[in-house]
């Protein structure tokens, strides 16, 4: 008999407009000591399944049918008091964000011992000893000291260890982990994944591992269940799913995963993704192609090879503690002597973990922060200390695409107005009619269709919004585009489309790009050269392929080693780049 059996589970969310079925007839089993991956994109219903097992669906969701058994005992449809006794004691739960899943006002001791006392019936002293033991087993140094502290005194990775300790404190038979590493940096992610896997194997605990990340799946799971729109479309061993996916959705999902082993020319076009037909524009004759005032580089702008952006010894400190006396003030160095050049027409990547100063550099280049020292030269001109008026033409030429497509657009403006605003502001077109024509062309070009111009941002999905952001950035006819984590809020299949779009645009318009990401596989797919950042310093700058094959700096080597590997992924139908193309296609 299996440890956990889920049979024909159906979950629905009743609302004013009728009943939305979130999960349709899902069945799977988990054995003792086995890690089952539950994978799918947002809206697939994978987290809903995890929550439904322990009856923690958010209102108004309800289980409409099916049966869940744990060690041959039915746990679906129990009274709220009976299911409470299953939670913690028999099924442990790990949530996605360790920053929010611990109560900020209670010490780690309170939060850990209350679980032990409730589930194992220990007295206070036994529970305390047990808690120390648990913290040790998840690798928290000096547990006697740390247990008295509050969550905010722990880093993200340490907090997730505490969450795991709490989840295991009641000696459960099964753990449900809902995206447990999504909010963490790669180096911490690999430690946490190792920890979960080891603990499951050692203690013979079954695990349902919910994630959207194929790299994580490849590293931690024994078997994988793939979900799409509330249905379980394929279930098999991890090896089979990754190498020989059978269902077309699984195939398309796998082909959209940014690869770590080879560079693709373009991600394959696949079904099962929101439809987007891009319409090509004849750039030579179109407004978008007629760029102006490029300074001394005008004319040979498309020849490539020359340095467009020169970042010289940039330093920037932020004050973290203010004080009356200068010597008492504390600073954090966000950027320390950073120097690199970006050639005209190339895509330069900046990679690093959170807090490494990648975004700070982007903002310095865009003129949003003033550096304390050093300079930024754009097309041969120092733009570090320009006045607002002098900076205006450079603002037009340097555009940014931000990480979060939900917060970077004014919700009260139509898409037409959002895209037209920079054109109007910089007075780039003669007439309102011309502006409307340009806006419509841009929308066609990024694959949204000109009809979507009259809608408002909230009517679009995350991927579509990111297309709007890109269209807006293109509206000033920029020559330099800064993309700050443009796809990290998006699903893989949508990410693949956005990355394809960026590559297409670059080829057609000859854009130069600074591409910032913490995601190494994405960097490999997008960039010609890469800079690796850590604690505000640039530790290595190298051509992408060289960096991934033979990293020089110790830190780059570590990053690349820790990157979840998906080498064994199926290569069917991929458009692999045989030889690295020159900087400009």
């Amino acid at each position: 008999m299996s440890l956990l059996e889920v049979n024909d589970l159906c979950i629905e969310f009743p609302s004013r407009h009728g009943i939305a079925v979130a999960v349709k007839g899902v069945s799977f089993t988990v054995e003792k000591g086995e890690v089952l991956g539950l994978v799918g994109e947002s809206g697939a219903g994978k987290s809903t399944v995890g929550n439904a097992i322990i009856d923690l669906l958010s209102a108004p969701g309800r289980v409409a049918g099916g049966k869940v058994t744990l060690s041959e005992e039915t746990i679906s449809g129990l009274s709220s008091e009976d299911i409470r006794k299953v939670r913690g004691r028999r099924i442990g739960f790990i949530f996605q964000d360790p920053m929010t899943s611990l109560n900020p006002l209670l010490t780690i001791e309170t939060q850990l011992t209350e679980t032990i006392i409730e589930n194992l019936g220990f007295n206070g002293k036994q529970a305390f000893e047990r808690a120390i033991e648990m913290l040790k087993s998840v690798g928290i140094p000096e547990p006697e000291l740390r247990i008295k502290q509050y969550p905010h005194q722990f880093s993200g990775g340490m907090r997730q260890r505490v969450v795991i300790a709490i989840a295991l404190a009641g000696e459960p038979e099964l753990i449900i982990a809902d995206e447990p590493t999504t909010a963490l940096d790669v180096s911490i992610q690999s430690q946490i994944l190792d920890l979960i896997r080891t603990l499951c194997k050692e203690r013979e605990v079954g695990c349902v591992f919910v994630t959207h990340d194929m790299g994580v799946i490849a590293n931690v799971t024994d078997r994988v269940a793939v979900m799409y729109m509330g249905e379980l479309v394929e279930l098999g061993t991890t090896e089979q799913i990754l190498q020989r996916p059978e269902h077309p959705y699984t195939q398309s999902l796998i082909s959209a995963v940014p690869r770590t082993d080879v560079k693709l020319h373009r991600f394959p076009r696949v079904e099962y993704i929101e439809k987007a037909e891009t319409k090509a524009i004849d750039v030579k004759n179109h407004w978008l192609g007629q760029r102006e005032d490029f300074g001394e580089l005008k004319g040979d702008a498309l020849l490539g090879g020359k340095t467009l952006l020169d970042v010289k010894n940039v330093e920037l400190k932020f004050e973290t503690q203010s004080a009356f006396f200068k010597k008492n003030r504390k600073y954090v160095t966000a950027s320390d002597n950073v120097t690199f050049q970006i050639k005209d027409g190339e895509t330069f990547g900046l990679v690093g973990e959170s807090g490494s100063g990648k975004s700070t550099i982007a903002r310095v280049i865009a003129g949003l922060y003033k550096p304390d020292a050093g300079s930024i030269e754009f097309a041969g001109r120092d733009i570090t200390h320009l006045s607002e008026r002098e900076r205006m033409p450079f603002r037009r030429q340097i555009q940014m695409v931000f990480q979060n497509p939900y917060s970077s657009m004014n919700a009260r403006m139509t898409v037409n107005d959002i895209i037209a605003e920079p054109i109007r502001f910089h007075k780039l077109a003669e007439s309102e009619q011309k502006i409307r024509q340009i806006t419509a062309d841009l929308l066609d070009h990024v694959g949204l269709g000109q009809k979507s111009g009259i809608k408002y941002p909230h009517e679009f999905s995350g991927g579509q919004r990111q297309r709007i952001s890109i269209a807006r950035a293109l509206a000033t006819r920029p020559r330099f585009l800064i993309c700050d984590e443009p796809t990290s809020a998006l699903d893989v299949s949508v990410q693949a489309q956005i990355l394809n779009l960026l590559k297409d645009l670059q080829d057609e318009l000859g854009l130069t790009m600074l591409f910032i990401s913490h995601d190494l596989p994405v960097i490999r797919q997008m960039c010609d050269r890469v800079g690796v950042m850590r604690y505000g310093t640039l530790v290595e700058v190298e051509e992408t392929e060289k960096l991934f094959e033979t990293p020089q700096h110790e830190y780059s080597r570590k990053l690349i080693e820790l990157m979840p590997r998906v080498d064994q992924l199926s290569r069917a139908g991929l458009d692999i780049e045989e030889h690295r193309e020159p900087a400009l296609a």
């Binding site: 409470r84 939670r87 929010t100 006002l105 209670l106 209350e114 589930n119």
Partner: protein
């Protein structure tokens, strides 16, 4: 901690200085103090002489300079009517007001916390709807109406409770503090004024606690607490309620300070011998030193209450460092 208190003291001094300046500068617009002090028969020449003696004819800055020099030494002027130091008069009336505010605060806490938590936990029950409906009514009805209506019902028609004053069975505590908390007669006198005073703030607190609790219940750590297998009681009353109370303490502290000011209406209706009643009388008598002293004392109460609130907040919330730059 010490640095925090020092900073607060400094900020408090600035606030007190501004209050004194404002209250002192409006006193000329309150009327002629001499009209109330002396009879009709006093001649204009004598009035001028009296004005000179009182220093009312000096330039504003001279008057203010004189006032502030004395104020720093604890002398806020002498009441024209009582012929006593204004500060002593006010401090003599303060216990009555503080007891009233304290009783009202107790009523607010005892009712609003359970009611607010209940409304958050059972959003769809009939009782929740009733509580929220009545609270809207409570916000809209002015305090003097509540007071007059409750006097009519409980004192006149039913005869259960006295309608005015503090009664005559007060127990002296120390100095000039006489308390009504220790005798049943004193407590009976306290009921109607305290309930009326509480009625303005109570709906606000219920709604505040309800919305903060709803917010706390939707957080990940409450969901995680449930997933740990904890009982509902512990999830609601430890994990959720503690986080609910943080914003409630901040807003609540300011509101309780405001309540000291609201007592003017309540004390007048119930003839409660406190500071608010005294202030109204002082305005009628154009007793400017007393008015100025009252404004300064109430300002001081505000500053003290706010500092206490911030201290308590710092004790509950471990992420706040009291010495921090933004304190």
């Amino acid at each position: 901690m010490l640095l925090f208190l020092f900073r607060r003291l400094m900020q408090g001094l600035v606030v007190m200085f501004v209050i004194s300046l404002i209250s002192f500068s409006i006193q000329d617009n309150l009327g002629d103090p001499l009209r109330e002090m002396v009879g009709q028969s006093v001649s204009e020449a004598e009035r001028q002489q009296l004005r000179d003696e009182l220093g009312l004819n000096d330039p504003f800055l001279t008057q203010y300079g004189r006032f502030i020099t004395k104020a720093v030494q604890g002398d806020l002027g002498t009441s024209y009517f009582f012929k006593e130091p204004a500060l002593d008069v006010i401090l003599g009336k303060m216990p009555a007001t503080l007891e009233l505010v304290f009783a009202a605060t107790l009523i607010i806490i005892i009712i609003s916390v359970p009611a607010g938590v209940y409304c958050a936990i059972r959003p769809n029950s009939m009782l929740t709807r009733a509580i929220l409906g009545i609270s809207i009514l409570g916000i809209s009805v002015p305090v003097f109406l509540t007071a007059i209506f409750s006097i009519y019902l409980f004192s006149i028609e039913l005869g259960w409770l006295p309608s005015y004053g503090r009664g005559d069975q007060l127990v002296p505590l120390f100095a000039r503090w006489e308390t009504g908390f220790l005798t049943s007669d004193g407590l009976k006198h306290l009921v109607l004024p305290a309930v009326s005073l509480a009625s303005i703030m109570l709906p606000l607190f219920i709604r505040l606690i309800r919305s903060e609790m709803v917010e706390a219940l939707s957080t990940e750590y409450v969901k995680f607490a449930k997933a740990k297998g904890l009982t509902k009681t512990r999830v609601y009353f430890l994990h959720a309620l503690k986080n609910t109370m943080l914003p409630v303490i901040t807003v609540g502290g300011v509101q309780i300070g405001t309540m000291v000011a609201y007592t003017i209406l309540t004390e007048t209706v119930f003839q409660w011998p406190g500071m608010g009643f005294l202030f109204l009388e002082a305005v009628n008598r154009v007793d400017t030193p007393l008015i100025v002293a009252y404004l300064i004392v109430v300002g001081g109460v505000f500053v003290v209450v706010n500092t206490l609130v911030d201290l308590i907040y710092g004790l509950i919330n471990p992420t706040v460092k009291l010495a921090g730059g933004n304190a």
